[in-house]
Symmetry: D2
Subunit: 341 residues, 4 copies
Amino acid sequence: MIVVMAKDSSAEHIGEVERRIESHPGLKAQVFNGIERVVIGVLGSIPPDLKDEIELLTGVLEVVPISKPYKLASREFHPDSTKVVVGDVVIGGSEPVIMAGPCSVEDEEQMVATARAVKASGAKILRGGAYKPRTSPYSFRGMGIEGLKLLKLAKEETGLPIITEVMAPEDVETVAEYADILQIGARNMQNYTLLDRVGEINKPVMVKRGLAASYEEWLLAAEYVMAGGNDQVILCERGIRSFEQYTRFTLDVAAIPVVQRMSHLPIVADPSHSTGRWYLVTPVALAAIAAGANGLLVEVHPNPDLAKCDGPQSLTFENFDALMQQVRSVAAVRRSPVEVT
Amino acid sequence: MIVVMAKDSSAEHIGEVERRIESHPGLKAQVFNGIERVVIGVLGSIPPDLKDEIELLTGVLEVVPISKPYKLASREFHPDSTKVVVGDVVIGGSEPVIMAGPCSVEDEEQMVATARAVKASGAKILRGGAYKPRTSPYSFRGMGIEGLKLLKLAKEETGLPIITEVMAPEDVETVAEYADILQIGARNMQNYTLLDRVGEINKPVMVKRGLAASYEEWLLAAEYVMAGGNDQVILCERGIRSFEQYTRFTLDVAAIPVVQRMSHLPIVADPSHSTGRWYLVTPVALAAIAAGANGLLVEVHPNPDLAKCDGPQSLTFENFDALMQQVRSVAAVRRSPVEVT
Amino acid sequence: MIVVMAKDSSAEHIGEVERRIESHPGLKAQVFNGIERVVIGVLGSIPPDLKDEIELLTGVLEVVPISKPYKLASREFHPDSTKVVVGDVVIGGSEPVIMAGPCSVEDEEQMVATARAVKASGAKILRGGAYKPRTSPYSFRGMGIEGLKLLKLAKEETGLPIITEVMAPEDVETVAEYADILQIGARNMQNYTLLDRVGEINKPVMVKRGLAASYEEWLLAAEYVMAGGNDQVILCERGIRSFEQYTRFTLDVAAIPVVQRMSHLPIVADPSHSTGRWYLVTPVALAAIAAGANGLLVEVHPNPDLAKCDGPQSLTFENFDALMQQVRSVAAVRRSPVEVT
Amino acid sequence: MIVVMAKDSSAEHIGEVERRIESHPGLKAQVFNGIERVVIGVLGSIPPDLKDEIELLTGVLEVVPISKPYKLASREFHPDSTKVVVGDVVIGGSEPVIMAGPCSVEDEEQMVATARAVKASGAKILRGGAYKPRTSPYSFRGMGIEGLKLLKLAKEETGLPIITEVMAPEDVETVAEYADILQIGARNMQNYTLLDRVGEINKPVMVKRGLAASYEEWLLAAEYVMAGGNDQVILCERGIRSFEQYTRFTLDVAAIPVVQRMSHLPIVADPSHSTGRWYLVTPVALAAIAAGANGLLVEVHPNPDLAKCDGPQSLTFENFDALMQQVRSVAAVRRSPVEVT
């Protein structure tokens, strides 16, 4: 941590900053006299609230953190990429893993038909919402436990592991009974009670990026889960909120290589929620794969125009199959060695 | 709801849209032939997911909602301003109500001293956090129930009603035993399980605006609480996330008159969290009052530079007292009739 | 255009809106009685300021434009994709066109060496800045006309056509003498004097998206150029400003398929400026190609760490060559027909 | 400037960074060994592009600038507040200065009537657009020089000095003949050719904040003007672009006290353009004054619903007069000393 003093700060102000830093056991202050101003470096393991404490001492212009506030999620501390394993599916390996299925579970026929179709096209994991976060209290909010049972049925029919969202801390245990991967939705990325709870279970957790979350805040959400003892965390870029509102959200495709540099956790992308329009799903999905995503989360529905939720962004079976062919080809380009001439 | 057809949509496409609209009981479609294109109006009480359903029919260019998705929170449906009453304090009346206290409850001395000081300066409600949402899992996360007990003690000493945050659905009942107003934090504005739960209690609820929430989404969060049966809802503008990051968030001061036009619910502002710096709190607080805010939520601490949380944005007792004098004067300007020459 | 009346608007208010609409020659108002409210449709060719005029009549709740304000740039009015031809290079055809070169022109050796290297790797157009927009007045602002001469020299040596930025209306003529494509920078996207001026020349113009420009505003900037008589316009997505500031800007990859749907103009992407970091350029460039971009604008420098401008985001010759190999492979995937099973 | 090295950087990497820093005449590197990593401080007067140069050396994790890139506009270097004097009007003194008038100049009667009305209500400066930046090429773009002449006429009638926008470098001289203050619009805040040109004249210049400009970029735009030799610069907060689009822009009220701390230049606010709706102008204007703004820029029109431009955000004479009464009262609160109890 670096403390930048104002140009006109006095020797007393500087002394007080030093004193306050060194009042924390194990910390040392080192003063650095520049031409325009004095800068004080802090040596030692920085407590998370030290920045706040020092920032309001008289004469302090700015406090610049140097160490990142996340450790468990950081690649600097864990150079090897994490692989999250679900049955024989490896997320974070050499192949992107496609997770597909309807926005919300509606009935047995829909689930089983969709599971079979996405499996036939190459999806490795089945998605489907039983508990649905909805902006309006009057929208369809999911089938709940009945939905979980239909997901299980579809899994039995096809062998596809299941990913589904959990919204309430008290549902974590139940959802974990049925699901192979628990999903934390974007709106709950900073629902710390929920993050603490999924940190205690022994199942992989996918943390979607919040609508307004910086990379650092997103990795800190993963850190919450990992600090609870669960290190099987997958990140999911699903679009941020920007001023552009033709698309539902703005997929930040650079997040993929950035997060792969900052963190060892696998990262997938959700082209369906980010765009909100089915005809944008394929180009954006291919973009994510080309950028190096470890997987995709894609909404597929037998009859998008009859879907109870998010129909406009769901692919038909045919469109999904076409997407999968292109995904495989783009992934092959990413894998093939480049010959430097 | 208005359905805009693409220029080249056929009579069949138009017919299918009509048919789909009228397949919902009580809805009627009315076709409107423009010069460049056809537009179809929908008459009747629109189900929340109809937009999604119609949007992906062939030939549809755009679906424009006309009715707002919130009803209970809407001023159009409830023209009279709501007054939320807590003991003898009226939020939404002619006087702005100031709620003040420390970011987090730390000990008895701090709480009682702060309660006395803010009361002496004119605050009507005591704030203090017992459950603290923190970006990092390693930061101080509040005293929990012990904090609630200290808040109660400070209330007994001063008579000030209490506002405090509730983060987890399972804590709602406990927090409601101690608090006079329950606060939903910005990060939980779309934690629907929590909103449902506070909708079932009989205590006022303050809903802070999410970091990336539009006015409509914010009012829909209030609608969740009201749809549960609790109509004592207060809104709180606490800054949105923008590209400008010198301040922690960007206080959207226009939100105050906008929300007062869209909704009948009282709205207060939080100048402490939005700015993140104590020297910005007073000008921004006065701005909010001048814009017509029904109250303020202000962080005050006996020794900001020793606070366990958010010290940099807390006012000293002296600064708070000075603020209160100015608040009263600005509020008087807002109240006094203007003589049109 | 649709005028939505407030629930409590009177017959007189509605009559006044009708009267005002029909006071414009050629416009007709058509009233549409809904259950909750009245909506008035406007038939005819809408003048651009009509929305403003109607919006403040008493009883009007909202005015919803239906027609888009751009015509010349719109695909609805010009279904065929535009191909911009520069010598034997076609931008908007089946192959993505790569434009590469240094951020700023520095000297003959740098320009000629870079031109040769990027040509050898497959670039079809040479980029290089002679007039540089810089945030600080104290940064290197380009070589001006001497830079244009060096670009011309590099063109003579390699045969590569040139794209370069023009910043001032009075430089348009001079820049057009040397350049094959004139570039309008993001900061000048709404510099209307400049847009008017490049609308009068007979050379292709690339319009970069403004940092805070919506798709519609961007297409209106293209419309300015086209309204001046120049229909050889290329669009360039170069990242928008969002709250995320680890990258310089946020490349909005969905802009590519969206703009291709809204407009007939070719669209390219700039992975260098959007990310600001060389190690992000390749993944983001491939993402743009996978999403269907008609080309790329890439910064390449013989010695990025000695560049006078934007070194951190420039690729070396080796990295650029590796990128080109992958670009070709991803572009091939986009082109190859998908067999629907 | 502080250079943060990666955890695993070698002694050679560190040595190379030192060498590169010290290759610049007058700079010195000072290495600082932390527990987790090495940090290198740079002493001396930092060239503007050094950050870019160092950032891509091997082993460098991050480069943190400490000095601000603006000097002439900085309060640290110029502690006394600047007063811009126009005739007997002082902008930046103890009284807020209200500048009012129509969005665009339309005819003599409109200009003279408006000038008289706003003067009677207490405005000190007359605003009016002769050159209008418009998003669509088909909107009314102002009367040009004829508009300047009408402004001059209104000045002769009332004695009010004039502020008006200049859009093109080649118009600067002409506009400066007629205007007392030249306005640089938000869309031109980074039109560096224009900034350079107004830096050469001897008239005050108002620099509006760009839609997506950070405080630092805005102050650098002022720095451009000042670096040209013109130190009579006024800043204007007119709303930034955020995800919230009910209002045209989001007025960042905290910008007022922040800029007053960072810079010695006066700052005014534009409640008309930021909100885009007349009924929001008064509350937002009062908020800006309460926050300490040195003035306001307000759109006033004799008949807003017949205005050729921005009618929906213009005040009538009556509403403006009522606003002025409240402005005076709020300004008096800001000025009156607060008695600390």
